[in-house]
């Protein structure tokens, strides 16, 4: 693939992530637990397939692509990306199967005890890859770098809590943690790892997509400070819980999380208003409504942590499906079309007329599928709040149809389906694997 700072395996990460998304939604359609019962084995299986298989894999694919671009420093040992990918997808699958042990499938408990190992190794490899640009560019001095560093710390802590609880549920010996640490684990995973990474990458990526100036001032350092406080409170809560202590700082962590979300939303609002692109593309237009779900999840979080149950389920659903998944799907349309354009047309720059990146995308179809996804996310959140299993199942059906529609759209982008055949320059690259590199003489 031509181009400096292009990660070879991003499209493979995306393909693996999308496979997990469709699998999770298809299984949820037939086996989703009723609202209020998501702590059952099947609920935890579906949740981890979505959180690790779908969202984390998509986030890692985006991080290995954009950290070197945004910080202008290469990944450390880029070849580790394939090893991390081969551990993450199967690791998420093993973990999901492991949770079925809680539903009375005995082999599941063995899998539950060992599944954290490949995932832990994969996350360690991802941290090693990310250390290249983060250390070389002194990422702690940069708004994007700071948030990604905090996100990776949260990933490590979320893994630690999750591994300990999984081993306890599996009845394994050695390192275990009590299951009542679940709220800390969920918040570290959703708000810490996925949320902060999304915020960090979007800071500069959105500025690029909107042709907006990078904001200056105290807002971003203040957001990072609050994010640090959130992670510290969550880590302290886990440590106290592990030691059997009381007086949990969970509420303080949730208040910090809500404040982080509020400052981030103010930041993006300022970015949107200062844009030089009068009509943003579909990825940015459809990312805006996803932020309503962030506001909703942040608003629900302090109450959810006290009451748990339906409120907690709705907050997690709004965050994972409404905010992060909508954002990921919308930006995936842009990233896939951009990478496809570079693969195919970049060597011909300056040698004649070329299509634009947006010419590769069927924008009305993208908008239609993303709107259906948003409708499913809204219906699902309401169904969980109201305890309506039938409505929740209808929401999952909407989400599945939308995901399949977007999958088809991405396939069309990779095959240049929007361009007349005469504008296809020779053989197209593989759908999601990197093209073979020619041996150097």
């Amino acid at each position: 693939m031509p181009g400096k700072h292009l990660a070879r395996w991003t499209l493979s990460w995306f393909a693996s992530a999308l496979l997990c998304l469709v699998l999770a939604l298809a299984l949820a359609l037939v086996a989703a637990p009723a609202p209020g019962e998501w702590r059952r084995g099947v609920g935890l299986a579906l949740l981890h397939l979505a959180a690790i298989g779908w969202l984390s894999q998509a986030m890692i694919g985006a991080l290995i692509q954009f950290l070197p671009v945004l910080l202008a420093r290469p990944l450390l040992w880029p070849g580790l990306s394939l090893a991390a990918l081969l551990l993450t997808g199967p690791g998420a699958g093993l973990l999901a199967l492991g949770f079925l042990g809680l539903e009375g499938w005995p082999p599941g408990l063995t899998l539950l005890a060992v599944a954290p190992l490949p995932l832990g190794l994969a996350f360690l490899l991802v941290m090693t890859l990310a250390a290249g640009p983060l250390v070389a560019a002194r990422g702690w001095r940069d708004a994007t770098g700071r948030m990604v560093i905090l996100a990776l710390v949260a990933l490590g802590l979320a893994w630690l809590g999750g591994a300990g609880m999984a081993r306890m549920l599996a009845g394994a010996g050695g390192f275990t943690l009590p299951a009542d640490l679940l709220p800390f684990h969920v918040t570290l995973g959703a708000a810490g790892w996925l949320g902060l990474a999304a915020m960090g990458v979007s800071y500069r990526l959105f500025a690029m997509f909107l042709l907006a100036p990078d904001p200056t001032g105290p807002l971003r350092p203040a957001t990072a400070l609050l994010a640090l406080l959130m992670i510290a409170a969550l880590a302290l809560g886990m440590a106290r819980g592990a030691a059997g202590g009381a007086a949990s700082p969970a509420l303080a962590a949730m208040a910090a999380a809500a404040a982080v979300a509020l400052l981030y939303l103010a930041d993006l609002s300022r970015l949107w208003r200062s844009r030089n692109r009068p009509r943003p593309e579909v990825n940015m237009r459809m990312s805006r409504p996803s932020l309503c779900f962030l506001a909703l999840a942040a608003g629900l979080a302090p109450f959810a942590i006290r009451q748990g149950g339906a409120l907690a389920e709705a907050a997690v659903f709004a965050a994972l499906i409404g905010w992060l998944s909508t954002l990921t799907l919308a930006q995936m349309v842009k990233i896939v079309s951009f990478l496809t354009w570079i693969q195919i047309f970049a060597p011909r720059i300056g040698r004649g007329p070329l299509p634009l990146v947006q010419d590769l995308v069927d924008e009305p179809a993208a908008r239609r599928w993303l709107l259906l996804w948003l409708a499913g996310a809204a219906l699902g959140t309401l169904a969980l709040l109201a305890g309506q299993p039938a409505a929740f199942r209808a929401a999952i059906a909407c989400l599945l149809i939308a995901a399949l529609g977007l999958l088809r759209l991405l396939w069309q982008i990779r095959r240049l389906a929007r361009l007349a055949p005469g504008r296809h320059p020779g053989p197209l690259p593989p759908l999601f694997l990197p093209p073979q590199t020619k041996a150097q003489p």
Partner: protein, 99 residues
């Protein structure tokens, strides 16, 4: 542009305007990415930037600009170099050629 008549500048500008940033649909000149153009005899030197230092398109846009300039009459060699000092900002959109 230094060392050249205005009509040569127009030719160079027109050639660089054929190099489109595929993300925005604007050309290099309209995006304010061309910082300097110098002509010494039949050697053309262009200094350009990209929207961000780590841009994966940077080298490809540089090579594309060189390719677009290579066909200009009276130019034996076109050299395009990249700089990020000063960094590009959206305020440069529409600034034309030069800092």
């Amino acid at each position: 542009m230094t060392g050249a008549a205005p009509d040569r500048l127009a030719e160079v500008r027109a050639a660089l305007a054929t190099v489109i940033d595929p993300e925005t649909g604007h050309d290099l000149v309209a995006m304010g990415m061309i910082y300097a153009v110098e002509l010494e005899g039949d050697l053309l030197r262009v200094t350009m930037t990209t929207t961000i230092r780590g841009c994966p398109m940077a080298e490809l846009l540089r090579a594309g600009a060189e390719a677009a300039l290579a066909g200009l009459p009276g130019i034996a060699r076109a050299e395009v170099r990249l700089t990020w000092d000063p960094p590009w900002t959206p305020a440069r959109i529409g600034a034309g050629i030069g800092l």
